[in-house]
């Protein structure tokens, strides 16, 4: 059923608009949002792989040059898209579920933003058109800003505005890069641009082509929160509601991989492209984990750890072999789940204590044994402890960098994993294990069941992928073989 491919974007988009328009009917909005959220992970699983041409404009074969042109915006749906869209759909469902059960009166605009963001990342993953990707990248930025501004945390507006200002510089740069590509090739379809590059119709060493790489790369750094944007990225995670942050980080990861895969198809002939990605990824790994070490606010700590994990994804893609890219994409999938689990779990702690400073917390193991156990497993998965999913992807990354002839990178990756472990254990100790400070009041002892349910689901997937990684690795590897 290829007709389902555009529905993956249309359903959340229409739901967002309808919920926003009819939000005064509280019960109807709640039921409708829940039904749509349940549909989100089901649609990609029910859909067949294939291509969808908007407007029905099929590719045209030029008889003179024997080249194929794509006049329509094309959505391409393969195993990779299926896994990631199902995953972000599941996460959206869990987040919407947590939100709906938390408040009696729900906010239509907030649900609008959650669904809008989901629609935007889905479109970014599916599209084969670089300008279409840019449009949804901008929509995603607006949704992210909205989710941050809608939270009730102090200084969230300021952080949203900072993110918006940086974004308003980053995204025109990306558009300028796309403009350069358009000027050189006359098209914005990625397949056509890649064909023009690989068939030698474009001089890949020309300054215009290199400039387009630099500009799109800058936009990518902003979208994925790699250095120099790592502080603002972890900042917006810490200023969003914890369940919103869980979704925001999945948006970041998916926009990162969708843009980098497009860049990879266009610029992989340039040796500097892979060097750039590896350089910034290593920088993100080191900066992310070392800045996480100094944080006392645990939301910022997870934010920086998430940035460090993004470095692992970039590293896999930057090494440029089939095995390494597969490892990077598998790491992306794991990071989405693990970081979401951590954000939701720590959100439960905020809910119970109204405190985010790890120095003022302690002794919570006695109050929240379930949450603490789940968080412990999540943290171990992030640090790459077997047999959890994080271990499988990090092991693959270490193997990939060894087989590419970079033992120093593999040593670095292992050291960053150990540092991640240290950061997590330090925070875990100060929150759960050390004696409870006398002035700490644990107000709301009951953790919402929806949060426990969401964490349980994510944990099951993490353990399942840790024991049976082949469920996704083979499919991702086939996809990577296709683009190489």
């Amino acid at each position: 059923m290829n007709e389902l491919i555009p529905l993956m974007v249309i359903v959340p988009l229409m739901a967002a608009l309808l919920i926003s328009a009819f939000s005064r009917f509280n019960t109807v909005t709640k039921i409708f949002a829940l039904v749509v959220a349940i549909c989100l992970p089901i649609i990609p699983l029910a859909s067949n792989y294939g291509l969808h041409y908007f407007g029905g404009y099929e590719p045209i074969l030029d008889n003179v040059t024997n080249a194929v042109y794509h006049p329509a915006i094309t959505y391409s749906f393969t195993f990779l898209q299926q896994v990631f869209i199902a995953m972000v759909g599941l996460l959206t469902f869990l987040v919407v579920f947590i939100y709906l059960t938390k408040y009696r009166k729900v906010s239509g605009p907030y649900l609008f933003l959650l669904f809008l963001g989901t629609a935007a990342v889905t479109a970014m993953l599916l599209t084969d058109d670089i300008f279409h990707m840019f449009v949804f990248f901008e929509i995603l930025a607006l949704a992210q800003v909205g989710i941050v501004a809608a939270s009730s945390i102090n200084y969230s507006y300021e952080m949203a505005l900072k993110y918006m200002i940086l974004g308003s510089i980053g995204s025109p740069m990306m558009l300028l890069g796309i403009g350069f590509l358009l000027a050189m090739t006359g098209t914005v379809n990625v397949t056509d641009i890649a064909a023009a590059v690989h068939n030698g119709l474009i001089n890949v060493t020309s300054p215009v082509f290199l400039m387009s790489l630099a500009l799109i790369f800058f936009g990518w750094l902003y979208a994925s929160g790699l250095p120099p944007f790592h502080t603002i990225k972890s900042g917006i995670y810490s200023k969003a509601e914890p369940h919103g942050a869980a979704l925001l980080q999945s948006f970041t990861v998916i926009s990162m991989i969708s843009i980098v895969l497009i860049m990879f198809r266009i610029y992989s002939t340039l040796p500097i492209f892979e060097v750039l990605i590896v350089f910034f990824s290593i920088l993100a790994m080191i900066l992310g984990v070392s800045m996480a070490l100094t944080q006392t606010d645990f939301r910022r700590m997870i934010g920086f750890l998430a940035v460090g994990e993004l470095g692992f994804i970039g590293l896999g893609i930057g090494l440029g072999t089939q095995f390494s890219i597969t490892a990077g994409l598998f790491q992306a999938l794991n990071e989405i789940m693990i970081t979401a689990l951590l954000f939701i779990g720590f959100g439960a702690i905020v809910n119970a204590t109204n405190e985010v400073d790890t120095r003022k917390l302690g002794g919570l193991l006695a109050y929240h044994p379930k949450v603490s156990l789940m968080l412990l497993i999540g943290g171990l998965a992030m640090a790459g402890v077997p047999p959890l999913s994080g271990f499988q992807s990090k092991l693959m990354l270490v193997q990939a960098s060894l087989s590419c002839g970079f033992p120093e990178i593999s040593i670095l990756a292992i050291m960053v994993s150990i540092a991640t472990f240290v950061v997590f254990v330090k925070t875990y100790y100060s929150m759960f294990l050390k004696p409870k400070p006398n002035d700490l009041e644990v107000e709301n002892k009951e953790v919402p069941r929806a949060m426990i349910f969401a964490m349980g689901i994510l944990l099951i997937i993490i353990i399942l992928l840790g024991i049976f990684p082949d469920i996704v690795i083979n499919g991702i590897s086939n996809f990577v073989g296709g683009i190489l």
């Binding site: 300008f131 009730s152 945390i153 200084y155 300021e158 952080m159």
Partner: protein, 128 residues
């Protein structure tokens, strides 16, 4: 390259550079946002310039036109379509930014970025 196109490209470069200067070095947040709009409009102008064709006609195929003649004389329409979308996005981004500035201005009573967007990490508290 036609002279008109060159002039348009130079103008767009000037807009982007002025925009960057304003966005980075000016303290007033409204002026910063005006600078950001300059960058966006400069990029839009650049993309419009790509579709320029010296002596070209409007890319609308009329019933009495020969398609081969039309194809060789019409300006390239794709950039215009893209710019239209880009302008809409730019306008919505601008609206959201100004709305945020309004809220923050009410809190601080100033438009200075140094005051409004000072490092917030040291003075956080959760306030649900």
């Amino acid at each position: 390259m036609a002279q008109t196109q060159l002039i348009i490209l130079m103008t767009s470069a000037a807009l982007i550079i002025i925009g960057f200067y304003s966005a980075i070095f000016v303290d007033n947040i409204i002026k910063k946002i005006i600078g950001i709009s300059f960058i966006e409009e400069g990029v839009n102008l650049f993309i419009v310039a790509i579709g320029y064709k010296a002596g070209g006609i409007v890319p609308i195929l009329m019933p009495d036109m020969n398609t081969t003649w039309f194809a060789s004389n019409a300006a390239y329409p794709l950039p215009f379509g893209l710019v239209l979308t880009s302008i809409v996005i730019g306008a919505s981004t601008l609206a959201v930014m100004l709305a945020l500035v309004m809220v923050i201005y009410k809190k601080y009573g100033t438009l200075s970025t140094k005051v409004m967007l000072a490092d917030t990490s040291k003075q956080e508290e959760y306030n649900e």
